[in-house]
């Protein structure tokens, strides 16, 4: 299967197989006008299988979202057909309006305009807790 190389844009590589669609949704890539390809289950020597997303435009990618959903991904920036930057992502310290608190007693349930903020409280176990009520976020 062939997908054209991009001249100017972003390639999100080393996505854990099966998480490509979730990343597509969280980054709101459906709202872009340019070509976007989600390639699933690509053979990978390192990972066995992986997903790849190619975006045919030089957009700003929210690396916090990527770090939260799949901290092993790589963001490749392509300019004039050449790889100009390779970014590793890390677990973000804080997430704003990426995930939402489900505790019915949390202040976010009654104050609709409050941003939903989660803090990384245990980097080892990748635990995020609501800034306001400290409820643990659901698994990704």
């Amino acid at each position: 299967m062939n997908i054209d190389a991009i001249r100017c844009g972003i390639v999100i590589d080393h996505i854990t197989a099966g998480r490509g669609m979730r990343i597509y949704q969280l980054l709101h890539l459906d709202e872009l006008d340019c070509s976007v390809a989600i390639i699933k289950n690509v053979a990978s020597r390192k990972m066995g299988k992986k997903d790849i997303i190619k975006i045919d435009a030089a957009i700003d990618v929210n690396t916090d979202i990527l770090g939260y959903v799949d901290p092993g991904v790589t963001v490749n920036v392509i300019r004039d057909g050449a790889l100009t930057e390779k970014r590793q992502v890390a677990l973000p310290e804080r997430l704003t309006n990426v995930i939402f608190c489900k505790n019915p007693r949390c202040i976010t349930t009654t104050e609709q305009e409050l941003p939903h903020i989660f803090r990384l409280t245990d980097p080892e176990k990748k635990v995020y807790r609501c800034l306001y009520c400290e409820t643990k976020a659901d698994d990704r």
Binding site: R105, C106, I107, T109, D122, L131, Y132, C133, E134
Partner: protein, 305 residues
């Protein structure tokens, strides 16, 4: 500018300094009688409270300050749909410090993010109640002379009891603390408190359903009320509410120097027959709470005496 949202906002050194200050206030109240002259405390209580609100208000009056008070969401602009953020910004224009109680968890944190004056969490639902913890810590130190090297039993509702979680968090920072958790199966301490606080800090703890069996080893017994308002199901509440009732009989195996604490209000979990026992400290705890709130207001307003 500092706020107090959870007990974790204060270091051990700061807690010790607040207790030192409270003891100085007890020893020389006249020195503090005008310390907050011209300052105003706003008490915003959107959930029922007797003790905490009066304690804050008494604390401010005894420091020579004034109090502006709102009690009940129905009598304030919250009833018109005003947000916590807007309330905090507005009240900041009138008061020098805010004490807030709110049924929603995290509301005082939102207030702190928006207020231009210090905010004190006076209880947010079942989440945090740091000034109760300050009252508890002050009482333990005044009774025992120390906050470390103690065996502390917690009895009753350890699942929903916010005062229990906060006190465990605070005590676990002192050396030589041993915890005994006494509760019915349904109201056991949540596993995240055991894992994130006790296990992580290496605090030894045991769990039991037997209050009398645990009694002889305790330096402190912290009793709690089974709170009707935390249950979704009335049947569960009725089944569990009378599980532990402390009576003179049950105290037979206790040490003569045991201290019995309770955050109050009490329903029936401590028999009134115990009130005259010298080991009963729960009304001293109420008084200590006022002195700790005085110390806290001084600290947040950066008043030196």
């Amino acid at each position: 500018m500092r706020h107090l949202i959870s007990i974790g906002d204060l270091s051990v050194a700061e807690i010790d300094a607040l207790i030192d200050r409270a003891e100085d206030i007890i020893a020389s109240p006249a020195r503090y009688a005008e310390a907050c002259r011209g300052k105003k405390l706003a008490t915003l209580f959107f959930e029922p409270s007797t003790r905490t609100r009066l304690s804050f208000e008494a604390a401010m009056y005894e420091l020579g300050g004034h109090v502006l008070s709102v009690s009940g969401a129905n009598t304030s602009s919250a009833a018109k749909g005003e947000s916590v953020a807007d309330t905090a910004k507005t009240v900041s224009c009138y008061a020098d410090v805010i004490a807030m109680r709110h049924p929603k968890e995290g509301a005082p944190m939102v207030a702190a993010m928006n207020a231009s004056v210090p905010v004190i969490n006076a209880g947010d639902g079942g989440h945090n109640h740091p000034t109760q913890t300050l009252a508890d810590l002050c009482t333990i130190r005044r009774e025992k002379g120390r906050l470390g090297e103690l065996t502390v039993g917690f009895c009753g509702d350890l699942k929903f009891g916010r005062t229990v979680h906060s006190l465990i968090e605070a005590l676990s920072r002192y050396a030589g603390i041993r915890i005994v958790l006494i509760s019915p199966e349904e109201l056991k301490l949540p596993s995240y408190v055991k894992k994130d606080i006790l296990a992580r800090r290496g605090v030894p703890y045991t769990q039991t359903t037997d209050l009398e069996g645990a009694m002889p080893e305790l330096d402190i017994l912290y009793m709690t009320r089974v709170q009707r308002e935390r249950f979704f199901n009335e049947e569960d509440y009725l089944r569990l509410k009378d599980r532990y009732i402390l009576t003179p009989d049950k105290l037979r195996a206790a040490r003569p120097d045991l201290s019995i604490l309770h955050p109050l209000p009490r329903v029936n979990e401590i028999s009134v027959a115990i009130d005259d026992d010298p080991r009963a400290c729960y009304f001293k705890q109420v008084l200590n709470g006022k002195f700790m709130r005085m110390a806290l207001i001084l600290m947040l307003l950066e008043v030196t005496v």
